[in-house]
């Protein structure tokens, strides 16, 4: 029994090693972690097999290391997602919905992938995803595939792209064919 567990652990370690052994992953993570406070605006396009046209949302992003991410949609309607210390709070008007990520691991890829990346938290990324790193001409892409079965039933992959320490684009592919692409324009950091 013990051997099986050990074998699993070795496989796991080997697996993630091949995924992120590309030169520059750890360096990039370290570089990203140098920017603990980020502000930016975003434009997000949601497409669905049910819809002929994408739904476009615009808003703002705020990140404060290590574990606070605020995503506010300003149009077409005002709504805020606040990720803080493992709890996601959705604020709509005077109502709050809160849910703890530990109670809902299936929502981690959806809610926590950007925060973990911006925090340079390679341990959290490795715990929840199989990360794959590629880099070309200074642009990089980190493709995250959920490990949790229930999460994988919801989200196929999260692709995070950027240049240097700057976040550029987040693409989420869902198992049901839904897709969202968020283009981020970061403000120059302090």
């Amino acid at each position: 029994m013990r051997a099986v567990v050990l074998l699993g652990a070795v496989l796991l370690a080997a697996n993630s090693a091949t995924a992120t052994d590309a030169p520059g992953y750890e360096a990039l993570m370290a570089e990203i972690a140098q920017h603990p406070h980020r502000r930016g605006s975003f434009v997000e396009q949601r497409t669905s097999p049910l819809l002929d046209h994408p739904v476009t949302a615009r808003g703002e992003l705020r990140f404060d290391a290590p574990d606070r991410l605020e995503k506010t949609t300003l149009s077409p309607r005002h709504e805020t997602l606040l990720l803080e210390h493992g709890v996601a709070t959705i604020v709509r008007g005077d109502r709050h919905f809160a849910l703890s990520l530990s109670d809902h691991p299936e929502l981690v890829p959806l809610l926590d992938s950007i925060r973990a990346t911006l925090a340079g938290d390679s341990a959290a990324l490795a715990a929840n995803f199989t990360p794959e790193f590629t880099e070309q001409d200074g642009d990089w892409t980190l493709t995250l595939t959920p490990r949790d079965k229930r999460a994988a039933a919801l989200v196929k992959s999260v692709r995070i792209g950027g240049t240097g320490a700057t976040l550029k684009r987040v693409t989420v592919e869902r198992a049901n064919g839904d897709r969202s692409q968020m283009d981020v324009q970061e403000e120059a950091g302090p």
Partner: protein, 794 residues
Amino acid sequence: MRNRVLVLGAWLAILAICGYVIAQARFSADLSAFLPARPTAEQQLLIAQLREGPASRLILMAVDGADASERADLSRALAEQLRGTGEFSLVSNGATSSELSDAGFVFAHRYQLSGAVDAQRFTVPGLRSAIQNSIEEFSSPAGLVDSDLLARDPTGESSRVLEAMIPSLQPRTDHGVWSSADGRRALLVAQTRSPGSDLDGQARAIESIRESFVHASAGSSARPVGNASLELSGPPVFAVEARGAIIREAKRLAGISAALIALLLIAVYRSARMLAVGVLPVVTGATVGIAAVALGFGVVHGMTLGFGGTLIGEAMDYSIYLLVQAERGSGAAGARWIETRWPVVRLGMLTSVVGFACLLPSAFPGLSQLGLYSVAGLIAAACVTRFVLPEFLAEWHAPQAVTALGRDLARAARALSRARRWVWALPIVALAVLTAHRDRLWAHELTVLSPVPESAQKLDQSLRADLGAPDVRTLILVRGPSLEAVLEASERLDGRLVQLVSDGVIGGYDSPNRYLPSEATQRARLAALPDESTLRSRLTEAVQGLGLRPQSLEPFIADVSAARAGKPLRYPDLRGTSLAAGVDALTQHDARGWTALLPLHATSAAVSGAAIDAAAVRSALAGSAPAGASVTVVDIKRESDALYESYLTGAIFWSLAGLVAIAALLGLALRSLRSTALVLLPLLIAVLVVAAGLALFGQPLTLMHLIGMLLTVAVASNYALFFIREPLSATAPAALRLQASLVVANLSTVIGFGVLALSRVPVLSALGTTVAAGAWVAFLLCVILVPPGEAAAQ
């Protein structure tokens, strides 16, 4: 000898009978001591709310100390532990809204639960606007809306239901859990399963919170959090602490004052045996008093026991009078005391009995019990002093040292008598102070009687403010014969209540039909759903131009068809969900039927204190009750304050009546207007001075102060009666012993009640302050006012 055996036998027999009665008696410690014995229908509803209502089961918790992330970890660990205990129907700390955990249930029954479901919603324009809205939901930043949800619930009923269930006022969150507004405490809320009146159940729940906290801070997390502390508040905590506090505090303080008084008496008597003998009247009085209350009322309030100390004030004096005054040991000493001094003590006792008897007709069970307890206890104590104690006097050697004390008093009296002409200024000044403070002389709120210390009340207020859970002051109570009847009746209020919200009269309201609509309403909703082919054709038309392919909504059509064939939800269907908890929290039932509770929230501008205009709500709801149901608007704080106000007025009236009765009794016994005036004056002035002193210190007077004043008159009437009976003397041995006995009696009263004044329980300290100060001032005034040689003239 035969006589002695007879007396002792009778005494022991009475004690044994009373002991038996007490052993059989029921003791209670709940609020009912403060509630009327014969309530009106409205008061009955109020009492049921205070004792059993959902608010009575709410415990507020605050985790203090450590840093924000450690507090958040603790809050999570504590919530998890508490959910595991099974003592609570609800534990919230903000980490996951409990409503969301029932999202699956809500989704499956969205067409029964959603208030938006009606025929209009399923017309072409109704469907179109609802679907348009749902497509926009795709822009939500959390991305929780997806194609699967759109295909099955394109009109967004499930999120509508969930949203309606989430309270609009919520605390701030820090590190993912609720925190106080200043960010220094993590907050949690739990509702106990056991009803508010089940104090043992509440005590168990509180104990499990404390244990869980110890576990949470020591065991579960990797880093033990040693410097974090837990504070609890809320009605169950108050009720359980109140049960313990008065009795514990009374015991602790009674222990201290008993020790101090024992020291004093040992110093005077120089005999442990006589000390024991001297306690017999008090013990007998307390036993007889409690037994009388048990027989008269069927139940003894903890409060009555708590004030058992009132007896020490006077009953202890009886034995002091006998033991200090009686002459040097001979069989005749007792007989002589009975002949000369007993009539004075008897008159003093009767004065007190008349005073306390006036509490008997009070509508306030706490007061009438105290009255009966005192009347029975004082008579018993005096009788023991008169009939039993002299039996122990044979070997008694009256202490000689006390004569020095008597001589000191005579000297002090001579010095003090010079102040006599100034004493008349005292009542004038006191009356002036009382007149100046007349508007804020009396406390008018029930909370002043609460045994909960002010600091705890402050903590409760601050936690409630932080939790956005202001004390529910105004409630609508809908009564009817069945759950269905009250659900229907409260649904009929919805329209008017929504109007009141938009008029700004109320900020919002809760209602059990958010969690369980009446069957009639659910049936109407299901009947409003179109059949399959109608819905399909309407959808085709409705989605034109929305960029949505109508055939992708087949799952929706299937769900609607299934819902049409379904049945309305009934209460048992909700079992195990937070919806059932919502219904439980807002309904009650008893032998007479069901009650739905609709708590009203103040507008957000008014959350901090300002009240809802209950009269406006009442007039808006007038005539809204269907046949067989009733709708009542209750302003809990106003009703309970009005209740207290009526007790206070009643108690003031009966106390004044008692004063008149005491004056009449003294007039009859003394047969002299002048002597009666001389006895009453120092007592009245003392009461005025104490009241003025309390007013000067900004202490509003309460029922307990009033009882303290009554007790002051009872205790001090003995002093005055003795002083007018025998002139002060610096030489006559009998007079010296009398004087000494008065000094010792007064000292013991001041010590006993002075210790009580230090209590943190407001009712005890009010009583202690009043009697200690009153007895001391009255004693001084007696010494100053009663002219030496007064009795020589008689």
